[in-house]
Symmetry: C2
Subunit: 550 residues, 2 copies
């Protein structure tokens, strides 16, 4: 009944009275109605996980690139087959296990369900097992800081956003001392297995850990899980990383709202920066869900070797065209990492890093003489506030923190200047008002969508199965996701098969290549075929809120 | 089934294939599933509107202040009674009407439903009536720019966000020439009535228009409707303005997400600025819905005559306390208009307005000598970026645009500086990282909540009833909102009874006083009784998405 909704604001805050306090796990937490209702949302399993199954190995694997170097880096694990679960009676499986789990890096909706999946697998199939949750990311492994997870502890986190069950961290296990610490923890807890839930770096790290444990003859096996809202950790066997679905839906809801605002007011250009530093998947997916007037895709900007001036002109051209049609409003999507894709900006940043590390930056600007002519030209083109950000914001290594640069504001100012030139030249007669937005943190910790809830649960459940069957160095892989859940496939992909090497400080380092937006791929091609229509005609689509239909 | 959700991102953009194009009214629009599903959401009417009713007058009214001056400004309308609808047979009502409707000012979720309500009233009770939608706000009245609204045109906007059915505008009808234009339109269209959907200013304007029409012996009657997400247009008879409920729910969802982020990462203080320039209702309501660690309420800051330093210290004190408990994270809510409430800042801004209007602002800063010592001291205390904003951003009248000042960033910098002093003094040992957010436009145009959908429909339907019974100068008033919809009361309140005068340029001007947060009111007192607990213990509550339950 509609009146129920009214109560909350008429007696301000009444909403909270309907919230249930929960005295388990999520300490000090009260739950809203929506949160509570999600706790008992059913998590169906793929049918292969609901019956007895066997783990079947595929053919030997190679690497994504430079197999010889990968082989040198992973002498024990290189070439191992991927695995797939098929119906059948399992043989020689361990009866009970001691397993650790760790969350690594930034949050993504669904992380808690991966842990729930592992836990339920151990309960269902390996009675007497123990699940250790390492606290605060990989540092928790190194410091042996953990919580024993039981069902009372885990229950309040089912289908809930965030990583707060055991929290996350960005430390890496990479030096010999750090590997030693991880070994000590594995031995101390008598770990049979460890599940690392993380992005490309964390899964690379998981594989190094698996290799290391194997080389030391430790029994501890390591399985990775694909996590990142950015959607750039994926391959044939891992069709998506978890969190991407929910984050895009949250951003698309807000973009849809802003579109309605644009159309209603008729006087704002909303410049919306979206998370996604390395790849522009989020921006592309949100564009396909909402049909904005202008969308910048970093991979295309890079492929076309566009300059900042090109990008500005592209935006200004569409705005000018729209003004002629009487539209002085619009919505523009910008990937967070845009300027990383512009070669001339990268060059400028590299030069600035160098200058700021070694030179005195004087007020009068004499330091600018150290810039190459084209970098100086670009620097002078930038709005003063952006110049300042480039000079001031450095990370602990002295590098410019590109994430801190408010690209959407920079573009507003550059477009404004360009349109002013055009106005003076008589080629633009519209009105331009930019409004900047950054949609980021709001999307990382939302309640996971039904898809992410189910997908994560299957990833965790499958990771348990892989550990029980003695697998290591695999990433949990759940596929056939466009089919109903019962038909989803479950298995593990050799992490080494996703790897290539990069040369850093004169040494080869293994890396899982980030999956970038493919300009020949179906999503980009669909977008490219529609964007001219979206630019001029207003095809806005408001996805609205996530519907938690069963 | 969860798999359905997966489809959208696996075959990027598949969501849009489930969207229905609609060839009516909302031109060029495609609808998402959620938008489509809302179109046929039922809008129950209060029972008094479902049966024959009479309009009964109450006692004569006065004014909110300075009744003698209000009487002089509204000689025809002053003192008229408010009206209430009661069951019974109506007498002498007009059979068919020509009615205009206009949206005035910023969007608020539900505006389309007010129009739907007026339209349905005319269809149900005054067969043969015509509804004109004036386009682009009050300018549409003056220019006689309108659309004739029929059911095909209106249908696609039912329960949809935004104001794009007829769009809105911020023009005012205030000069004699403008009143003349409005009269011409009223005569040309033979208008029996006009409904003005707007905030305090627009409703004041509506009353002036009603007075003017009456003084000119025009038959055109004017009824206002209370619109503003800020929630500051309300009184005993008008318990809330529409849009507030939805906007707070959208913001509270995002705040809840950010809280989960804060708790998961454990290293950020999220400073969230929320819309609401004049009053802090949105901030207070969101606080009650989400339980943040720190909430600033402008009205309290003003009542306690706090300085910017006091506010900074208050935040720094809680952050220091939390650091001792091991919490280096938190969520802080800040009303958009905060600095308007700080007397010393208002003083500084007044001085700056004066200086910038008459003096040359030299690079060397000699102009600063024109500031009073305390304003200079405050100016020097401000972070450079804020100093710059204060100097650069001016509205067409040469005034500082306070809305452009990113208060949340200013506070982050000031708190950072303060904590650094404390660290050096040995009284703070924590880590501080601020993340800034502004939640604004996303909330103005969301899909209206069930409450706002129903409330707006009743406001519009009731406005139709008031016009039909010959009322003018009233604001549509729907009350008893905490009860089920059937028990809601319907009527109209004399706009003059909400008014006071302000002296501007030596003349009295009528104003509807903005309803501020009352420090003795129940919502603030509830908040005040809980905030110390919220500050130290983490009582975060994530309301999650708006559930469109039936």
């Amino acid at each position: 009944m509609a009146a129920v909704a009214a109560v909350s604001h008429l007696s301000n805050g009444e909403l909270s009275t309907s919230a249930k306090p929960l005295n388990t796990g999520r300490f000090h937490s009260v739950y809203s109605e929506v949160q509570s209702s999600r706790l008992d949302h059913a998590l169906p399993l793929p049918s292969v996980l609901r019956k007895p199954f066997q783990v079947v190995d595929g053919p030997p694997s190679s690497a994504a690139g430079n197999p010889d170097e990968i082989k040198k880096l992973f002498p024990y694990l290189f070439g191992q087959p991927s695995a797939v679960l098929v119906p059948g009676e399992a043989e020689n499986v361990t009866k009970s296990l001691k397993v650790g789990v760790v969350l690594s890096g930034g949050q993504a909706p669904g992380g808690h369900n991966v842990i729930s999946g592992i836990y339920d697998y151990l309960q269902d199939r390996c009675k007497g097992s123990t699940l250790y949750g390492f606290k605060g990311g990989p540092a928790g492994i190194m410091k042996c800081k953990y919580t024993v997870l039981n069902s009372e502890y885990i229950y309040p986190y089912r289908n809930q956003g965030g990583f707060d069950m055991i929290c996350s961290g960005r430390d890496k296990i990479e030096t010999p001392e750090q590997f030693k610490q991880a070994e000590e923890t594995a031995i101390k807890l008598d770990l049979d297995g460890l599940v690392v839930i993380g992005g490309d770096d964390s899964n690379t790290n998981a594989c190094l850990l698996a290799e290391n444990f194997r080389s030391k003859n430790l029994k501890t096996r390591v399985i990775g899980c694909p996590k990142t809202i950015d959607g750039d950790l994926k391959c044939k066997e891992v069709p998506t990383s978890f969190g991407f679905d929910t984050a895009c839906k949250i951003y698309a809801e807000m973009i849809g709202n802003v579109m309605v605002d644009a159309r209603s007011t008729g006087k704002y250009y909303h410049f919306v920066r979206l998370m996604g530093r390395a790849a522009s998947h989020i921006t592309l997916e949100c564009a396909l869900q909402t049909h904005p007037n202008i969308t910048l895709i970093g991979e295309e900007v890079a492929a076309k070797k566009q300059t900042l001036k090109n990008v500005t002109d592209y935006i200004a051209d569409i705005i000018s065209k729209r003004a002629e049609l009487g539209y002085n409003y619009g919505v523009i999507l910008i990937p967070e990492g845009l300027i990383d894709f512009i070669p001339e900006v990268q060059q400028l940043i590299a030069e600035l890093n160098e200058i700021l590390a070694h030179e005195v930056v004087d007020e009068a600007g004499v330091w600018k003489n150290k810039l190459t002519p084209q970098s100086l030209q670009l620097f002078e083109l930038l709005p003063p506030a952006i110049q300042e950000q480039l000079m001031l914001e450095r990370d602990p290594h002295g590098n410019v923190q590109v994430a801190k640069i408010e690209t959407e504001k920079m573009l507003i100012q550059m477009v404004e200047t360009e349109l002013e030139h055009r106005r003076q030249a008589g080629s633009y007669k519209g009105q331009f008002k930019g409004q900047s937005h950054f949609f980021g943190y709001e999307g990382r910790c939302g309640l996971p969508s039904n898809f992410d809830s189910t997908y994560c649960y299957a990833l965790g459940y499958g990771a348990g199965a892989l550990l029980q069957s003695g697998k290591t160095g695999l990433i949990s892989s759940v596929g056939n996701l466009a089919a109903p859940v019962e038909e989803w496939t479950v298995g593990g992909t050799a992490l080494t098969s996703l790897m290539d090497v990069e040369r850093r400080h004169g040494k080869f380092k293994p890396v899982i290549k980030k999956a970038m937006v493919e300009l020949e791929g179906a999503p980009f091609k669909k977008f490219a075929s529609l964007r001219e229509d979206w630019a001029i005609n207003n095809r806005y689509l408001s996805p609205g809120i996530i519907y938690f239909t069963a």
